[in-house]
Symmetry: C2
Subunit: 358 residues, 2 copies
Amino acid sequence: MINSNRFEKSETMASAPINLKKLSEILGLSQTTVSRALNGFPEVSEKTRVRVQQAADGLNYRPSPSAASLATGKTRAIGHVIPISEHRMINPHFSDFLAGASEAYAAAGYDILLRMAPAGEEEDIYRDFASRRRVDGVVVHGPKTVEPRIDLLKSINLPFVVHGRSGSDTDTYSWLDVNNLNAFQQGTQLLIDQGHTRIALVNGLESMNFALRRRAGFEAALEANNIAADSRYICSADMTETYGHDATVAQLALKNPPTALMFASILPAMGGVRALNELGLRAGKDVAIITYDDQLSFLQSPDGENTTPFFTSISSSIQAAGKRVAEMLLAQIDDSSRSPLNELWEAEIVQGQTTKQT
Amino acid sequence: MINSNRFEKSETMASAPINLKKLSEILGLSQTTVSRALNGFPEVSEKTRVRVQQAADGLNYRPSPSAASLATGKTRAIGHVIPISEHRMINPHFSDFLAGASEAYAAAGYDILLRMAPAGEEEDIYRDFASRRRVDGVVVHGPKTVEPRIDLLKSINLPFVVHGRSGSDTDTYSWLDVNNLNAFQQGTQLLIDQGHTRIALVNGLESMNFALRRRAGFEAALEANNIAADSRYICSADMTETYGHDATVAQLALKNPPTALMFASILPAMGGVRALNELGLRAGKDVAIITYDDQLSFLQSPDGENTTPFFTSISSSIQAAGKRVAEMLLAQIDDSSRSPLNELWEAEIVQGQTTKQT
DNA sequence: TTGTAAGCGTTATCAC
DNA sequence: GTGATAACGCTTACAA
């Protein structure tokens, strides 16, 4: 029986991995032609292309990334620098963001180069990436209100897309952000519409740009309804479950405790519910709760649609954001002359059980 | 004023990055000598070494990873393939594991190459890593009860360390595991000692090796105390908060509901508490709870020590595990002839508020 | 349409 | 102790 492909896969003998030189010798072609055929250059004839491709597949040829990178200056890798906050806290949002991003990368044949570093050391890493040409671009995570990384990346000429945004010159670089101001304004308005006037904001760290925007939205809604802002009702910290718990306990111990709580993330919101339960209070009946929801995968219901979600939330998929940011970055790497891309996503309000049913 | 270092840092002009050739020309040395000096070869004189190192620092010279990799065959990158389960669920344990691992990698000058893939596609990725020499080694996450990846990695000769273990020939490869059997046996025994006889196990997916070991420990404790195992009290699934909630509701709806619950992770345990609260029950008073706790960073109290933790738990740091696994892998890459390393860590029982105080 | 040859920036093998 | 020089495995002008 004649095999349609003369070059059989040889799983068994790992031996010396095949390289372009061997492959071209076997085919009786030059390395150039083989390389061109494999990389889809138009000038190579269809006949040879097929022959080359078959041989490559059959012999399980894989070009060496190091060699290709050395020759082209491209690494086909994207750098993600994840900040580790004090207490060695690592924000669980990143894994979902990366899951989304990796989908786009995989489709384009890119890898993620991951580096975790204490917040503040990111800049050194970007410099390192740039000078060693370790990656083709980076994603900027968690932009601060004052964000030196953006100017740095511009100056060292490393392509980047910001998840979020910062500064006033937001049209000079690419970013994708959720309309946090609008989201929290609407969320607050919903609570006001339901009769609440004492509303607490359990915010994220306000050194983060997104947290500041959320606070601005919150305060804008209060102001629009002539409710005096009360700083006692606002707190901010790293968005852990424990923080949500403790903040809720503290809020409800105030003299005129809030009747509604807004949380910056579902993790502190869960802590808040835990606190309410300890105090014998019910979320949605005794105290209203709205939380921002990044749709973290490990907190989703498997069945999704058919049940009313527990939390009333302002919701936007962080996985989807990750995917889109990755696409934007790849597009920019592909054509470095293209002008910056900006996308502002609107979050969606989802009616749950922690506010009055309407 | 004379600068002690003649080669000033030039942040401003990015220009053409300096390479070994230029550096050696500037120094009036051969590339060989400069390379040797920078890589700490013993034969180069102390005088030149210092001179070279200063020039390299001053001119901000960074060797090209691609070129070095091409020349040495080493990439100084470790592959981590993170499975994405159905429903696009990405297990939040990984980010903490990676945070620990990255500490060891950073110290050794290694990077993480991250790839996320639907469970089952890992093998193709390992093959790709190996044939393209993309990484120097990989960490195997979440070994299944039947785990083809281990044999594959052996056969393609890619260094690896398993977080967990699988199969019967566990002395033929390197792994680090928590003594899950012992942990759950002790946890169960604690509940039995407190008078419980109807104990439920809200387990992880039992296609996972660790979940099977936990169940075995659970059942061993029951058997040792002559308590008949009741399969209605055991359930297993991906360890989400929602799963813990729903499983708890289901368990307590049984005819003879359990009086104690054991959870495989703190996420479902939190869901369990939420369910108890909905049912008007208190964890630790009406129903006892013990959970396994990986000490996920985003669920830790910031102040730690001074308060009694909420959950009674069987606890082991997944960040510490990540760090140690990385160290083991690097050691193995360093000396490929060394025999496999095996470490079995004992988890620690932590008294909290969800069991009787003793 | 295909081939020759010169890089890409290191490390490694020899000599000296 | 230091220096030529040849790999490493690819891409890419430039020729043919």
